[in-house]
Amino acid sequence: MKRSMTALAVTSVLTATTLALAGCSGSTGTGSGATAGTAAPVTLTMWGTYGNGGNTAQTDVLNKTLIPSFEASHPGITVKYVDIPYDSLKQKLTTGAAGGELPDLVRSDIGWVAQFASLGVLAPLDEKMSDFSTLSAATYPGSLATNAWNGHYYGLPLDTNTRVLVTSQAALDAAGMSKPPATFDDLKAMAAALKGKKIAVFADSGLQGWNILPWIWSGGGEITDAKLTKATGYLDGSKSVAAVQMLVDLYKQGEIPNLLTGNTGATSTSDGLPKGEYATILDGPWMRDIWKGQFPAFAPIYAPVPAGAGGSISVVGGEDVVIPSTTTHLDAATAFVRYTQSDEFQLAMAKVGQMPVVASAGTKAAAADPFYAPFATQLATAKPRLVIPQSSQVDTILSTELTPAFEGTTTVQAALTSAAKQIDALLTSK
């Protein structure tokens, strides 16, 4: 009896230990150590967010058309795509880097590349791919710039998007306008025309770079100098201040709702525009499918971001394809990266809602589907947010400093001066 009790205890200890160890080691092996070029078959693992929000259109094209086509032209290479929800990908990459368990390819948000590159997680593709300069020259410069860090490029653009002005016929009618507001002055006139009609002239859901930079750039302002060394004198320059001041004035007149300063209880932009609460918003090409499902009768009108002294300049979004430095299949992984830049890949993804990053493919996609034309035009001048590892901190600084300016407890000049000082500190420590 006693012996069997001991045996039971020993067994349970072993089971628990095994469980604990299994829990620590994770489960995403990247296959054998063989490299492409040898005869041994290679399995590439790729992490991405194509299926975010239960959208199977893009994962289907990838898994059923593009990957099989790549595998057919590259015998011996198998690509295993793992779809990860957008909200958890960054955390998964972080823990993967900490545990040394990363895939061979990642479809990364453009805002994360510099951050992970600075940590040494990514392979410098400009050193690893002999044809990098040819491939990169074919992409939009604004998208390519998001891959740069410390004199090297750590990825290539994969897909892109940008924000344009979206309005509705109902809003234009209410304001007595025949076309969407094309300039800052048009927007102010629209606000005046909408006064008392319970329609906000413009709505947006935050004061981060993604939200506020199109206004600053279009107003002729800048965030930093070209070499990313200083924000003081740029972010708090007179043109930047004037652009933000226009928004603050409209906000104080009640023409922009407090969704802008982070009221999570306000009507969202995607609901407010079709419901007639908001006259204009800035948004991206993904809205077409969202509205198609939720507001089938709504016919959005797309137009360039209103132009100020600096023209009509929007902000670049999208994803890059990167290779973690831990991969043991570098040749096979670079072959797939090369394939993502092909017309075949870019145009197939364009059909399911991802805008091409290769300029020639972008022109073809816009010709095939006129819906993309306003976005392609806007992209020609769109700029990326600061490509530094601390880009998420820049967002926090902007929204923390600007919120009091909109609420009226400080001036725009004071808010931007304080933000510029903090960003200066980040730039010197990068």
């Binding site: 006693k2 012996r3 089971t15 972080t94 940590l119 300063t261 009221n263 919120t403």
Partner: protein
Amino acid sequence: MIDSTQPQVVRAAVSPVAARTTRRRRRAGRATPYLFLAPALVLFVGLIVYPMVRAFQMSFYDWKVLAGATSTFIGFDNYTRAMGDPVFWRGLANSGVYMALSVPPQIVLGLLIAMLLKAKSPSQPVYRVLFYLPVVTSWVVVSLLFKYLFADKGVINWALADVLHLGDGSTSWLSGRWTALIAICALGVWKGIGWSMMIFLAALQGVPESLEEAAVMDGANRWQRFRVVTLPAIRPALGFVVVMLVIGGFNVFTSVLLMTGGGPGGQTEVLLTYMYRQAFTNLDFGYGSAIAVILTVIVFLLSLAQMRLFRGGDEEER
């Protein structure tokens, strides 16, 4: 007590092989309880103690997340940085405000409901389940629910304006620091009452009826009976509930992250959302860990003080 000479007697009496087996059995017998403890201990050390020690270690480094990367030891820099960080202090204040506003109602209302549900009635199990239901519901689900309740065009504003005729219902609850904290506290109280109710119900079952009856005989009214008989009898349970709720109050996280995201402009950031942002958004694990360590020390000291307080009271009564 076993005589120490006994084993020798036994050994002399049996063959050497049998004696060895007996010794081994006895040794194995002594090890058995530890082997039974081991699975839980292995998991506890591996999943709780080790990460805690690691986080403590990280808080003294400029921690590099990459496996194999060298992190720089920076001593107390992360801690001094927190002392000079206004967002840290605002987060601490918000966590404190949440604790102060959400703990007392959970105790008072939890006890009140427990008193009401103590009486036996056919509907009693139904009410117990209903009050306990929020406790077992997912934080994510109820946080989103409360976000919609407190939205500009949500049920709360509608009820205030159209049902109760208090104001015009145009309050943007989630757009200001204090109104948003009220909404977050309301969720905490609603979700927490059931838990304290359950503990109090269990404690109330243990109040001797003879004492109650004696108090009635002495002419004590309801309030006097509650104050002199019930309250002292459930004192240990009360102490437990207070300590646990204060710890829980300082650990508020999910509801804030989902209802306001720390906004607007970081006004409703609490210590844990700020820690999470530093670690997982900015990948500054050293600073995030330092914030976690500071919070642990605060909660530990508070719990210690409370336990002293409740124990001290007991001794005085005795």
